[in-house]
């Protein structure tokens, strides 16, 4: 916006005879602007100087580094959580034997068990020490305990298999 509204100390350049003609010139020039083509050319030059960024350019290398670090940390955390949920405990095979009535532990050969026509199940209390060979944990404190078990025995009373019913 053109104007002469300012005060300069010692401004002696105020000639009233020029004020009106200059105002007329200002009025005539007010609508004069750069041709529209100039703006188009400048914006095209801007686009050449700053080409459109691809999505992977939106983050700086530092930001990418931070994102990678965070992603890796999150991945490790998720994997650790999944592993902790699915990691087998040291009693897994025993718990399976306790929960699943079909999981008998063979004490004799499979052929011998299959050939036994009159096998039957009996309840028995088995000393824990006798089960140490089957993986049942035995400590000095529980060595004297017994474990409730179901035993598959043959017609002659020989043990063929057993499963643990309770593990105190």
């Amino acid at each position: 916006m053109m104007t002469t509204d300012r005060t300069d100390p010692g401004d002696e350049h105020r000639e009233s005879s020029l004020d009106a003609p200059l105002a007329a010139l200002r009025g005539a020039l007010d609508a004069s602007n750069t041709p529209p083509g100039v703006e188009k050319e400048l914006m095209a030059a801007f686009a050449r100087q700053f080409p459109a960024k691809r999505w992977y350019h939106l983050l700086s290398p530092l930001q990418w580094g931070m994102a990678g670090g965070l992603g890796s940390t999150a991945l490790v955390a998720v994997m650790a959580l999944m592993l902790s949920l699915h990691a087998p405990s040291h009693n897994d095979h025993l718990e399976a034997a306790l929960d699943d009535g079909l999981d008998f532990i063979a004490l004799d050969s499979a052929e011998r068990i299959e050939q036994e026509a009159n096998a039957h199940v009996i309840q028995a209390d088995v000393p824990r020490t006798a089960l140490a060979a089957l993986g049942v944990p035995v400590t000095p404190q529980n060595a004297g305990d017994s474990v409730r078990a179901e035993m598959l025995v043959g017609a002659d009373g020989s043990p063929l298999a057993l499963r643990l019913v309770s593990l105190p």
């Binding site: 916006m1 053109m2 350049h13 000639e15 007329a24 010139l25 083509g37």
Partner: protein, 197 residues
Amino acid sequence: MTPTNADTDTELLRQMRSGTAAAFQALYRRHQGPLFRFALLRSGSPDTAADVVQEVFMGLLTDSFKFDPLRGALPNFLFGVARNLILKHEHPRRREESLAWDEDADGEQSGDGSEQYEPLGRLLSEEVAEQVRRAIALLPPHYRDCVILYQLHGLSYLEIAAICQVDIGTVRSRLSRGRAAMAKRLAAHRPDTINAV
């Protein structure tokens, strides 16, 4: 982030340099008018004025002119750049004009302006405005700078001194002589028109 009218030139420049096209566009639209009008009056040619404005903003885009906000406002910097570009454009005939003015320092310069500035004449419909335009066009370039920037753009002596890279006293004397020459020419050519306004 979309630039707003309230954004300062410095903020728009920062956004422009980070690749925001809208900031560059806002800067251009904010300053192109005054720059074009200055270049138009200073050079007398709409084509030259458009070229100058384009060169000014190309320089701003590529930072080839090294604008420093601590050294002054952007508009004055742009005026200074435009002035230097115009000087470069008119360099071949500047020497002749300067010599002619030196020989006829009271403003009665041999007039070659009417044909030379004909393109600008098409833009100015009012007769008085055209007379003033011609009077300005016939001033020596260094007087013309001061008269245009002071009378039509409202800049202070200090700002004009910075743009023209001269001291304030020089601005004052150039302005005084320029105005006197203009008044004399206008009174001599169309006294009835001038007095009627």
